[in-house]
Amino acid sequence: MNLKLDPQLDDFRAEVRAFLRETLAEDVIRRSRIGMHPPNEDDRRWWNRTLYKKGWVAPAWPEAYGGTGWSPIQRHIFEMECRAAGAPELRWQGLRLIGPVIYTFGTPEQKARYLPPILKCEEFWGQGFSEPQAGSDLVSLRTSAVLDGDEYVINGQKLWTSECNFSNMGFFLCRTDPAVKPQAGISMFLFPLDTPGVTVRAFETINGDYANCEVFLDNVRVPKSAMLGAPGSGWDQAKFLLGNERTSSADIEKAHADLMRIRTIAATELKDGRPLLEDKGFRHQLTQLHLEVEALDWAVLRVLLEAPSNFPVAACASVLKVRGSTLQQKLSELAFSALGPRGLRLYTCAEGFAHTGDDPLWPLHTAGVTADLLYLRACTIFGGAMEVQKNIIAKVAFGL
């Protein structure tokens, strides 16, 4: 057992830091750190193109498809450094979700067609999985795709298609065979959102912004080649998609950034005329959370480096998701309470991005905290609800 990071990683970290320092402008950093949902669209597109030019846009992809060849721990360091430096959040649907599915299951034509535009920031993807009647119980999805000549005709409704209002491509799970067992009758389709019959409607979520959509599919005709892989392989592809980033659901980078944010708030906000950070009760609360973040950090390292365990890695990945999402909510709640009643002010995305903290009554750190808290109520729901994760753990780890 060697529990020290390889010293060569220090050089790597320094290289990443230097790049971030010379590349990220102050305004970009400010808008990223405010942390609105959705993030600033122009900033994230700029960041995607910038990283593409640098060759760092898709570290997790195999080198043959545009990856960096970095080790898991290098990728982890890269993510941590980007977040700490205040880099914009990349759009994840293409780079993290469907990209790996395409290079794993797609035909050579599909790979050539779809992968480069993701890397180059030319196409943006929305994920059409959930439906009004199929949330956690995804396998009960009803959107149908029926073969008619050389085309599939798709009908149904998708929900929770995050950021589809900023996207021009979509990947959709549809039922192609209602006669077989539910898992075996699902296929994945890739098609442009301007295909006739597709209607995207963004709706307001409790954080006061529009980052989520419902998508209506009304006699949408797509060619056979829009199907990814063989008919009926969609369920396996979806499971691969949800499972292939075992550690990212912990969002450990954000947890560290949130600790910094809370510290900044507490160093400025006063309680009885003294900085909140000097209050013993507050320090204890913050320290407790800090310990949980440190533990999660090492739990992520253990999964990344495939540490021996008495429990299967699928259980450990769900453990990261359960703890990571819970911790995100706790951190946002502490940030909110540190802010006091000023946290009640509603900042929309537009107001948040424009907020420079020039008014002494409303310093920089007052924006974004509450929107984050509200948005994060969803983080124990999306990507497999907390309760589903616990079902998985009980089954996989203990055979219950």
Partner: protein, 375 residues
């Protein structure tokens, strides 16, 4: 960085797991914990033969000079069998203090510890103190001829009921701390023994003009305080390893029980409330293991060690108390009986939380973490 065990670590873990599986059953432990010694001398001889009492001791005194990683691996396995023998108090806590002393007398005592011939206990806490760090120090050591004369009362001397060697903290003239190696059969030394909830024992020790030779003074002043902090941090790491062993054992026992116990016409394993509780127990246990890895990684850096050890103790003892308590809850009444191991694991975790400074104390010691930049 690599979390896989090397060959030597693998052998250590396998040997300890095998020993516990073959030799440490609860009924025998209950018997010996009620006997005169409170533990098994046969186990102790075997531990010595297996090298476990020499594990972290320096080579010059017959030790193996292994680190805290191996220590935690060993105690994790021993805890699975609720081993009650005073490995930590004797070999880790007092062993570390004697090793810091680097004197011929201390080395000869270490050799006897490594060989399993000597039990040792730290006699430092006094009435009014909650732990070794905050204890008042009213016990005095006065120079007397070539030696010293000790006067005072020590409280909560864990494992001190039959230890042959007591490492006694006393105030020297001028007020600085002195740590003394005191033979328990010294004239003027008397003990009041009592049982603890985890089956182990402790003593209050009265030093009524106890005379010790000059070389009994092992360490003094800052060196004594540093050595004490190091020895305690090492012992806490040992306790963290034990906590992991307790949590995993309790989870395994509980999962088995849920599969066999039938209520309302079906196995308890089919009740989602209980499945989710088990999942939460694993979440806590995995975080605890991660936190132990973090502490082990930072242990050899003196600037980071205290906060890292405290952070681990706070997080792990909270997790361990909760997980073992849930083990009792999910079993139901059976786990509240003395014949069932789960309750013993819970008691061991209560003891872990209270020893070497409780969670409040350690939370305060690591709250400087939040003032530091994360990188």
């Amino acid at each position: 960085m690599d979390f896989a065990l090397n060959d030597e670590q693998r052998m250590l873990v396998d040997a300890a797991a095998r020993y516990v599986r073959d030799n440490c059953d609860l009924e025998q432990r209950r018997q010996t914990s009620r006997g005169d010694d409170g533990f098994s001398r046969e186990h102790w001889r075997n531990f010595a033969n297996l090298g476990w009492l020499a594990l972290t001791l320096p080579e010059r005194a017959g030790g193996l000079d292994w680190g805290v990683v191996e220590l935690a691996l060993l105690t994790e396995q021993l805890a699975r069998g609720l081993v009650i023998e005073p490995v930590v108090d004797t070999s880790v806590l007092c062993g570390s203090l004697l090793a810091s002393a680097t004197s011929p007398h201390a080395d000869s005592l270490l050799a006897r510890i490594a060989g399993g011939e000597l039990f040792a206990a730290l006699a430092h806490i006094e009435g009014g103190g909650r732990c070794e760090f905050d204890t008042p120090l009213a016990t005095t050591a006065t120079a007397a001829g070539d030696g010293w004369r000790l006067e005072g009362t020590k409280h909560l001397v864990f494992g001190g009921h039959n230890a042959g060697l007591l490492v006694v903290g006393a105030r020297l003239e001028g007020g600085e701390l002195g740590l003394f190696a005191v033979a328990a059969d010294s004239a003027g030394l008397s003990r009041t023994n009592y049982r603890l909830i985890d089956g182990s024992r402790a003593a209050d020790v009265r030093l009524d003009g106890v005379s010790v030779p000059g070389d009994a003074l092992l360490l003094r002043g800052q060196a004594a305080r540093d050595a004490l902090a190091l020895a305690i941090d090492k012992s806490i790491i040992a306790g963290c390893g034990s906590a992991l062993g307790a949590m995993e054992t309790v989870m395994a026992m509980t999962a088995d029980y849920l599969k066999t116990r039938v209520q309302y016409g079906k196995p308890l394993a089919q009740f989602q409330a209980l499945q989710h509780r088990m999942a939460e127990m694993l979440v806590e246990t995995e975080q605890a293991r991660a936190m132990l890895c973090r502490a082990l990684s930072l242990f050899d850096d003196p600037a980071q060690r205290p906060a890292a050890v405290s952070a681990a103790k706070v997080l792990i003892s909270k997790a361990a108390r909760w997980v073992t308590a849930q083990g009792i809850q999910l079993h139901g009444g059976i786990a509240t009986t003395e014949e069932y191991a789960v309750g013993h694991h819970y008691k061991a975790m209560l003891a872990f939380e209270q020893r070497f400074g409780d969670s409040d104390w350690h939370l305060a010691r690591c709250d400087t973490l939040i003032d530091r930049s994360p990188h």
